[in-house]
Amino acid sequence: MKTFTMIIGGIQGEGIVSAGSILSKAFSRSGYYTYTHRTFASRIKGGHTRSRIEITPFRNAAAGTSANLIVAFDKETRETTFDFSPQSCLMVSDERLGSVSKRPGGNPENISLPFSEASAKAGNKLAKTTVALGFLCRLLKLNEDLFAELLAEKYKKKGVSVLQANLDAFESGLEMAEMPCFKKYKNFKLDDVPSVKRPVMTGNYALALGALAGGCRFISAYPITPASEIMEYMSAKLPAMGGLMLQTEDEIAAVTMAIGASYGGVRSMTSTSGPGLSLMMEGIGLSAMAEIPLVVIDSQRVGPSTGLPTRVEQSDFDTALYGGHGEYPSISLAPYSVETCFSLSRDAFGLADEFSCPVFVMSDLALGLFPQTVDPFEIVTKDHSGEATSSEDLGEDTYFKRYSGNNEIRPAPGTPGGIHYTTGLEHGPLGAPDNSPENRIRMMRRRMEKFDSLSKLPGITVEKTSGPLLVIATGSAYGICQKALKSFEGEAVIGALHRLKPFPEKQFSALAESFDSILVVEYNYGGQIFELLKKNIRLDDIHKLHSLTKFSGEPFTLLEIENKAKELI
């Protein structure tokens, strides 16, 4: 089989996520690619959770539509996966769950296995998902040693007895797959692939790695789903690099402390999700007004207010583009893959330094949280331009003209000769408040008109520059579009919009002219990217723009995108 999809579901806190993670690592160590779609509730224990793992011989960044195998540890897994489960699908349930309720059109075969019982026998009631791992390993003819290795990595630190119980549980699972009823599933074997080890990564970890590669050595942040992994990872890695993560009292402190550290001469950032971004707007305005570099990573979730904290949406673009009071300069980047989470997060720090302004990196929940196998990317750091501390050309004993002409030098406190004033008030060359109309005009122009060079750089990654249909997407919407459009054989071209501001006007105009139709696919109600493109398209081409939005909190299905694309070709 080329593509194999399995779902493992149960009650949150019972090892479902760990089992999913071991599975995706096992495949990724054997040369396959995986994509895991996770469903989870906003609670710690209890509530349904499931991992839907798609295994392919090629790179895959989105979930497909059906499943081959379902492993159920709760009733909800069986009932809510009906949509995914064709008749050919095999369902195995923990024996405790009893029989399956009938559905119209017939059930997939359901076989009950004593996962819980076997786990108790192995001496650890918590190891029932490990029994299932054993079962899956034998059923799919995978390498047992690989699993033993992964189990050891996971359970060694919990003590010898815990590890032994898990190894025993695994063993009993192996035997279950030998039962005669599974003989007819011997086609459940993945096509051979060259044995290569690849990392399993999420966007959040790639964003954090990118920040480290971009020279970020300070992050102040407040925990929030689905962005917390960024601060967690950096808090684990920064100390060894001499840096620091500080968990603040709120998002307002997070953003202003990062501004303080950046003013102090360190590449600094904060990370958050929508509710935190709303709180950060006043600080972001200060960063722009006082021309202090700042990187803000936003992992978008369903809003407004608390919204749906564990579901995906891309509805903060407008906040990044137009949020906050007054008019101010900022840059908005949008990663569209795990790889670009890394590269754009890395580049954000150089851009913030070069343009002395806030830089948003707009990711989203699905890109941030769903693990996928990636090709190992090299952690290359870019040349760091425009560093914050410099004592060149700074005269002694006078105030430094920090905001004069094209001056982008930012002497940090401690720099002799660099003394200047910094304020959120409108100010003159030395930073001192100045409310004269002439100064206001000069300073507004200084801040607002500094992006000429950047706006000329491409902001859309596209493989072909003309054709019947261009589909534009970013964030996690890109992966599913890419997958859906494979069958269109170049009739539909996919474009990744990775810089929203400054908008790549020229590049987009040229694309709009040479494509017959443009479809914008995004996770929100109002079509925020659609509206952005509409603002930037020539009047003659405006009829070519079409919008496909989804705001249910669920990812697009392949069919939804295919159907819309067919309509337009």
Binding site: S28, R29, K197, R198, P199, V200, L209, L212, A213, G215, F218, S220, K237, P239, A240, M241, G242, G243, L244, T248, E249, I252, A253, A254, T256, M257, A258, I259, G260, A261, S262, Y263, G264, G265, V266, R267, S268, E282, G283, L286, P376, F377, I379, T381, H384, A388, T389, A412, P413, G414, P416, G418, I419, H420, Y421, T422, T423, G424, L425, G431
Partner: protein, 284 residues
């Protein structure tokens, strides 16, 4: 050069004649000069309000931030470069209305900065509104029938939040204020100095004369490391005192994180990519 001139700049000062803040500014400049801290090694961070101007009137790196947020900004600066002398300054609205959360956590976090609370018990820059430190029955534009809430007591709050240095000063007692600010700067940890600084325009009831009459000077021989006694002193004086209330030697934040990291964040070599070696492999 006279000591006062070391930190004096040419910026025109726009506080009202007779404002207590002139004396806070003078005390701060003299304290910094007496400690022989280089101008370029000090950063004065303020919020918004009359007090917010103080950084602009001092020849140092001045950061006039946003209302209520001087403390997180000041902490960020110190975390970037611990060799700096970082002073945060703000009014009673800035620190104990909009910025109360930050104040409590800055005290708890104990980063080595000095916070001057320029306390005039009124909102001056908005032209006379009640503050969280205003007295009961205080009549202002926003409390025409009199304030019906009791005031917060900053020193009591700071003691409860685990403050490592808490003092109170008065604009009218210059020498004492200078010494308190010097002590605060020398204290290795977060120092709060609540300074009674009269607003002669909008709070004439709390004039120099009234404060001189009502402020009690704490007995200098008392044990300032006794927290219980500090609470008692606060309660007995109803917060109307000057002097060092409490000090301890708890290690400051930066000393607690992985001991003493000698390299300031600002001096790290961010081009050293070897630090990133092996990170990808951890995901395999």
């Amino acid at each position: 050069m006279a000591l006062i001139d070391v930190y004096t700049n040419q910026v025109e000062q726009t506080w009202c004649p007779g404002c207590g803040h002139y004396s806070v500014l003078r005390a701060l400049k003299i304290a910094l000069a007496r400690l022989e801290i280089q101008n370029h090694d000090s950063a004065i961070v303020s919020g918004i309000g009359c007090s917010g101007r103080i950084g602009g009137y001092t020849k140092a790196y001045g950061f006039h931030g946003i209302h209520g947020r001087s403390l997180p900004i000041a902490q960020g600066i110190k975390l970037a470069n611990r060799k700096l002398t970082v002073i945060a300054a703000g009014g009673d609205g800035d620190g104990f209305a909009i910025g109360t959360g930050h104040a409590m956590h800055a005290i708890k976090r104990n980063i080595d900065i000095t916070y001057l609370l320029m306390n005039n018990q009124v909102y001056g820059l908005t032209k006379g509104h009640t503050s969280p430190l205003s007295e009961l029955n205080f009549v202002t534009k926003s409390t025409p029938l009199g304030q019906v809430e009791d005031p917060l007591k900053p020193s009591l709050l700071a003691l409860s939040a685990g403050g490592s240095f808490i003092a109170q000063g008065f604009s009218g007692e210059q020498e004492k204020l200078i010494e308190l600010i010097m002590k605060g700067i020398l204290h290795k940890g977060f120092s709060l100095i609540n300074i009674f600084s009269p607003c002669v325009t909008f709070n004439p009831g709390k004039s120099y004369a009234w404060l001189r009459e009502n402020l009690v000077s704490l007995d200098e021989s008392r044990n300032t490391s006794d927290r219980g006694d500090a609470f008692k002193a606060c309660l007995e004086t109803d917060g109307l005192f000057t002097g060092l209330l409490y000090e301890n030697n708890a290690p400051d934040y930066q000393s607690r994180i992985s001991g003493e990291n000698k390299t300031a964040l600002i001096n790290l070599d961010i081009k050293n990519t070897r630090l990133l070696d092996g990170l990808i492999e951890e995901f395999m």
